[in-house]
């Protein structure tokens, strides 16, 4: 296939970042936590966990939720999405009139399911919740409805449901809109709050580690779930420059592929992952050696980490790149993971500091990479790649470079 978009396509920069994470509200607290290598995975407080194998997750602290200032009548996911998207727009400083024309692409899976579950449990246990407001925000697209309305956006609006690759896909599709000249700017990102169905489901699949997850460790036993929202403002580079805006990074390229192999398991040799990474590099016109750091999907499940390591070896060669997993710090934030980790990758580029993989003590012999155990490492890199993979064999790789 020829290089997408063709010659002369506009460059796309990231001019705004907004994050609500298990470290708290705001990009600053997110970076502080990552740089310190603080693992935010703790006992769950939001939902009942009695009788389950794993009872931990990375929750957004209650005081951070309270600080957002939004009514509790909104779903938890809507509240963090609004806060993150507003922070990203404010950070970008796009003039209000231009911001109104922006596209909006939201990666989502759980929707307002946390509140929907409370309604459903009340109904089935004979204690009906009087308000049915929860049902109106239960579907994933409700976040885009809320953001589109509250931010007053008139550009194209989409809700992408691609499991754990949703947030990464939202960034890729937003970039395409700008490259195609459909919009000059786009608000893109993912959101997921903790839900019972997700917690119970991954427990049922025995994919959750009872202790905080240990991606790439020889003794890893699964992942830890988390919750977050992360949004980016993408802009056509030339227009950003012309208005005097500051670019955090250039979104040099992306690759998006499907394994078409199994509904839940990744391709055992990482075939789709390899194609996604190579496609992203090709899209950005970069050789593998140009990439100094990979923010891995790195869930901590035996299957994912093995397949991803195989794929990384194919693309970069053994030890050919520094690798770490943000999920060891803030958990697997599901639909938000792709955009949370894109934000982590961009901040690493900006600060010249690579966030570590927490809880990594004995690196798996099948992972022939320096996975930055325990402590963040200074590194002046110019390009980095972020991987997001998901159920359904969905693979998204994003390449960011310094602007």
């Amino acid at each position: 296939m020829s290089r997408p978009g063709g010659g002369g396509r506009p460059d796309v920069v990231v001019s705004g970042l907004g994050v609500v994470s298990p470290y708290g509200a705001g990009t600053k607290s997110f970076w502080t936590g990552l740089a310190a290598g603080t693992c935010a995975i703790k006992p769950i407080t939001l939902i009942e966990t009695e009788g389950f194998r794993s009872r931990i997750a990375a929750e957004i602290p209650a005081e951070a939720m309270a600080s957002l200032g939004y009514s509790r009548r909104r779903s938890r996911a809507d509240r963090i999405a609004l806060a993150a998207a507003r922070e990203a727009l404010a950070d970008a400083g796009v003039p209000a009139e231009r911001a109104r024309e922006a596209g909006l692409i939201v990666g989502a899976v759980g929707g307002g399911m946390l509140e929907g579950e409370e309604w459903y449990l009340g109904e089935t246990r004979g204690r009906p919740v009087r308000s049915i407001r929860a049902l109106r925000s239960i579907l994933p697209f409700s976040h885009a409805e809320t953001l589109g309305w509250r931010l007053g956006l008139v550009g194209p609006k989409e809700t992408v449901v691609m499991a754990c690759a949703s947030g990464g896909a939202s960034i890729a599709l937003g970039a395409d809109m700008i490259r195609q000249g459909v919009v000059e700017a786009a608000v893109v990102g993912g959101v997921d709050a903790l839900t019972r169905i997700c917690f119970m489901g991954f427990n049922a699949l025995k994919l959750l580690d009872p202790t905080p997850c240990r991606p790439f460790d020889r003794d890893r036993r699964g992942m830890s779930i988390g919750e977050a929202a992360a949004f980016l403002v993408l802009e056509e580079a030339e227009r950003c420059r012309a208005r005097g805006g500051r670019a955090h990074a250039l979104l040099a390229g992306y690759g998006m592929t499907t394994d078409a192999h199994h509904v839940t398991a990744p391709h055992p040799e990482g075939e789709g992952m390899i194609r996604a990474m190579r496609m992203a590099l090709d899209d950005g016109g970069l050789e593998p050696r140009a990439i100094g750091y990979v923010n891995a999907h790195g869930t901590g499940t035996p299957q994912n980490d093995r397949a991803e390591a195989l794929a990384l070896r194919q693309v970069f060669g053994e030890g050919g790149v520094l690798v770490s997993s943000t999920k060891s710090l803030v958990g697997h934030t599901m639909a938000a993971a792709g955009s949370v980790e894109a934000a982590a990758t961009i901040l690493a580029l900006q600060h010249g500091l690579l966030p570590p993989t927490a809880n990594l003590e004995r690196v798996d012999s099948e992972v022939p990479f320096d996975c930055l155990p325990g402590t963040a490492r200074p590194a002046e890199i110019t390009a980095a790649l972020s991987n997001s993979f998901g159920f359904g064999g969905q693979n998204v790789s994003l390449v960011f470079t310094r602007p």
Partner: protein
Amino acid sequence: MSGSRVVVTGLGTVNASTAGGRDALAGALALGRSAIAPVRAFAVDDLASRLAAEVDEATLASLVDRDAARRLSRICRLGLAACVLAVRDADIEGGPGLGLVVGTEHGDFTSSRDFAQGFLRRGAAGLSPMIFPNTVMNTMAAVAAIAIGAKAPSITLNQSTVAGDLAVARGARLVADGRAEAVVAGGVDELFEDVYRRLSQMGALSPRMGGPSGEGCRPFAPDHNGPVLGEGATFLVLESPERARARGARVIAEITEAAWGNVPSAPYSAHSRRIDRGSPVARLLASRRGRPFARCYGAGNGDPDVDDWERALLARDLRGPSADLVPPRSLAPLFGQHGGLGALRVGAAALDTERGAGPVLVHGIARGGCRTALAIGAAA
């Protein structure tokens, strides 16, 4: 549309009227017989709403391999069957160049309910690891991608009312931009008892406001009183005309433009006081330099608020020779409202243009403001 041109070379549908490729849909449209009938799948005696457009289970069973059917939920079988029919209709093969875009409003709620009920009955021990993956809305795409060998981007879009047409628009963009050589794009939803019951109890379905005409799907009519739900899946195969020509495919029509936008409005509301600056119809008309459309399909489904909003939005955009296209044609009275209906509208428009009807506008608007517009023309 910027980038490569995009043509439709295949169509697959499983709906309450028919199942098959382009000929099956053309036959159902020519017959014009409504598939709306009393609900068979579950009891509705205690509800004000009692109608739906249901897919015959025997028809669906005949389309999906029995072994596969045993491990797939019903909505996955609907999506899978329509995708396979579309690929067969286009005579196209899978591979790294084939993408997939699936639009859905409700996804697999049946599996979510079954998963939750397992927990309610037996606690943690009652949770099924087999059912859980189906609760993630992209499972229909995962199942279909494996079946048709779609290894390029596989995207699931969640949206009310216009999920199918939005998916086709996104699929067309993927082809135009070279992100995939060909894309299977469309929508799917199933009739789910809990959603039907709740919507009926909330007054969101006909006969929402009562009236002498009683229950029925009457888009844009003075006595419209709510939508009637349907179910099914419709998918189109999209590719560049050069690729279609090279492999000797029979082109049905061309998607000359595809755009979508947002009319800022409160979630689930069907009105906006703000100016619709991002009108996708206006963008389409601008790119057509005023050339009028011969026909227009709309998303109006009998929901009075949506019908009236769509009529008002189109009346503002379609002036001069196109003004008499308002109100637009609706296919909801034939097939019922479901996530595949938007793609079915695009399919109908493609078949119209193949028969020489002239350029067709396929318009969509959903509560909450998601608005779509596709221009369909005869293949050059």
